[in-house]
Symmetry: C2
Subunit: 367 residues, 2 copies
């Protein structure tokens, strides 16, 4: 199969200020983005893909190593987070579609977020960065596409928080979007998911390194707390049977237990340590707080009002964004198409089950 090859992330400054739901305005916004495929003359082959909590603009292809990033911490392969879905002949077929991916507003991978410089003070925003909503992110995406000269998108697609953005596009800009692809997502996070997000945020904010959000330049960061947040995330993204299959109760040390709790005894403990250590190298804690809060707020009260063509995909073992949420959307969004994929890998299925999503997405986009 042909590949996208090396991709460079680009940056665009929005031409004007961005108003937010909270009443504040961000005076200057930069958006980090990548594109795959070719924009046609009619400018009507655009698909916007939206990332989830821990993603970034690098959705597909191999990242060009930048001087600052070197081998790109946390992405050893350099492949984008949805590389299996975006490319020539893939679900989002770049032979036909011009696929655009941005880093979310509030992000830490090139788009304006809490670690960006506040033009009012000349210092990083930190605690002064506004609390965002999914609607704010989508408003930013639309302003970005406007700046690229793209009036209308053939589809907005994403998993998890990315799927929420797709839903929000259909609510906020129904005349600008032809179809939405909402994968492993929900119109309103279930209370248990609200709780997991709250606990992850608490873990970050209770780390003294957080310093009320103003840790930039202090030499201290809330890595310890964000590591725990990432561990919580990881377990909620996987499933109990998936963990049983992958790790079981396998010990880390062949010689048996060593009577310690400061060192990992079980393989799964070592795996969690490793995941946490990798994540804190590439992610900003305040961005975690902002995005986690936004996805918790998200709530579509009026699903019936969505008239955009809608594809819904859920996974049987996803207990963080359970199929029941997608079913409720399917029952209330007229003409929507819903697929439940049986798979044991939990919420992470949207990143892993490429082969099974591909024909569904392809057929929907051709329809």
């Amino acid at each position: 199969m042909r590949d996208i090859g090396t991709v460079e992330t680009r940056y665009l400054d929005l031409p004007g200020p961005l108003p937010l739901d909270c009443g504040r305005v961000l005076p200057r916004v930069t958006v980090a983005y990548e594109t795959y495929g070719t924009l046609n003359a009619a400018r009507d082959n655009v698909i916007l893909v939206c990332h989830a909590l821990s993603g970034d603009a690098h959705a597909a292809g191999v990242a060009a190593a930048s001087p600052e990033e070197g081998t790109r911490e946390g992405y050893p392969s350099g492949l984008g987070w949805w590389d299996g879905m975006i490319g020539p002949g893939k679900a989002f077929d770049t032979d036909r579609w011009f696929v655009v991916s941005t880093n979310l507003l509030g992000g830490c991978r090139g788009t304006t977020g809490p670690s960006s410089t506040d033009p009012e003070t000349g210092r990083p925003y930190g605690s002064r960065f506004p609390v965002l909503t999914v609607a704010d992110m989508v408003r930013c995406e639309r302003a970005f596409l406007d700046a690229l000269g793209i009036d209308r998108v053939a589809a907005v697609a994403g998993g998890s928080l990315g799927g929420m953005q797709a839903l929000e596009w259909a609510m906020a800009y129904p005349d600008r979007v032809d179809a939405i692809v909402v994968i492993a997502s929900t119109h309103a996070l279930q209370p248990q998911g609200v709780a997991w997000n709250a606990i992850a945020r608490e873990s970050i904010m209770r780390d003294p390194g957080w310093q009320g959000g103003d840790y930039y330049g202090t030499g201290r960061t809330p890595d310890a707390g964000m590591g725990v947040a990432r561990m919580i995330g990881h377990i909620t993204y996987l499933s109990a049977p998936g963990l049983a299959e992958k790790f079981g109760r396998r010990l880390q040390n062949d010689g048996g237990i060593r009577y310690t709790f400061t060192e990992p005894e079980f393989a799964i403990e070592s795996y969690l340590d490793h995941q946490a250590a990798q994540f804190v190298k590439r992610f900003d804690a305040n961005t975690y707080l902002v995005l986690s809060r936004a996805l918790t707020y998200f709530s579509v009260k009026d699903l019936e009002s969505i008239k955009t063509r809608t594809l819904l995909i859920a996974f049987s073992s996803d207990w963080l964004y359970p199929p029941a949420g997608s079913e409720e959307m399917a029952n209330n969004i007229e003409g929507s198409e819903y697929h439940l994929i049986e798979s044991p890998y939990g919420h992470d299925c949207f990143l892993l089950e490429e082969a099974r999503q591909t024909p569904i997405v392809k057929q929907f986009l051709e329809g």
Copy 2:
């Protein structure tokens, strides 16, 4: 219904040192305990009840306020953790049985644990306290009963970690126990449960207040990290439908969201904060680490070897100690009696579903 009334916790020093699985020996061990009912002349009406991770010796009745404890932080009502199950006419009927409850070895409510004085140094053990197993706890319970002059128990009963102790009694001292009652428990924690416990421990140990375990007397304690550990615990003890029913997505503030992540926005966030704040007042972080590690280690390889009369109860919505574990025990422990109770309250059912457990336990104990 008659009640047990006011109960005072008592303390007993074991007559000799206690050897441990890790190879170390605890030279002096004190056991905090309570008893309910009357020991008969034959001394054959004893039931030992064993608490779970966050419990203590105060299983039933109203705690006598001690000078140090005042109104007993964390137990506003003063009622024991299994008061609905222990008492005259209740599941563990104190008109017939002499019920004994101890604080576990490694505990922080009167039995020797990490916060106790190390006789070698004259200072609290802290990081010098040994890493324990469930077998160590049971060895301590047996030494304690020996010291009381009780050779044999009619039953050992408990939920969760308490159920593991009951299983261990049947493995280690089959000639000393007539029956075991194993509720919402398992012969080996599932990998997802191993992970949740690891994350909770990480949260405590990553709190700088933990100081490698030697925080006693420093004026700093890892309350922040243990609060997060407790929040994680709470969500794993409940069920997703239970949370949806109790909290839904109800906002904390009638006026809508306030665009904050430092303050609770959803009622469930406020509830978690409250639970964490209450817990850290009454619990020691090192005890949490020791007990959590012990229950993670616990693994019965040879269920078929258990010949003790066994009652198993599981709850349909308990995803931390799922019914599958109890079913596996039922299939491998000859003659065991297994009941699955349909209830939406998750792992906490063993503390809440008193009315439905009572006839099952009563009938089993009479058999």
